[in-house]
Symmetry: C2
């Protein structure tokens, strides 16, 4: 791994974080599809825990200087927007 | 930050993870001191969430190739051991 260069690590860090954000989105989508209740406390708990995990990863990448703070905020913000849309879509369906 | 070299990043990643593990230990210690109840569900939830956050950071560092998987397991394992000791110490006190 030491043959990796710092710019490669920056690219990889960003790709991993985006992939992780996407994984959370898919997890919540599957949960909504199956639990069929966006107000379920279990759903809120899973979501909060997952978002916390991602925010810890992002914060870690920022502290290592692998991504900009602003980029980290964008990743979290975009996921939050997408999840809010998903939540609305399922709420209307009920 | 681009003037940082990969070995520096590896050292920094390890230091950050150890510091984060230590922060969790201190947080739980303060909680036990103040809540005075290791069986409190709130305590369990805070602990689980914090451990999940740290495990996400460690997993991220492993995927970036900044730390070995084994090192990551050691950091989590050591924190778990220290927290179990803390839990026992406070349980005996009651």
């Amino acid at each position: 791994m030491t043959e990796m260069k710092v710019p490669d690590l920056m690219t990889k860090a960003l790709a991993l974080l985006r992939a992780d954000a996407d994984k959370i989105y898919k997890l919540i989508d599957v949960q909504m599809e199956n639990l069929n209740m966006p107000q379920c406390p279990l759903y809120e708990e899973v979501l909060d825990t997952q978002m916390f995990g991602l925010s810890r990863e992002i914060d870690f990448a920022v502290r290592l200087g692998l991504i900009e703070e602003e980029t980290g905020r964008e990743i979290l913000g975009e996921l939050e927007r997408k999840l809010a849309d998903l939540h609305d879509a399922y709420s209307i369906k009920k």
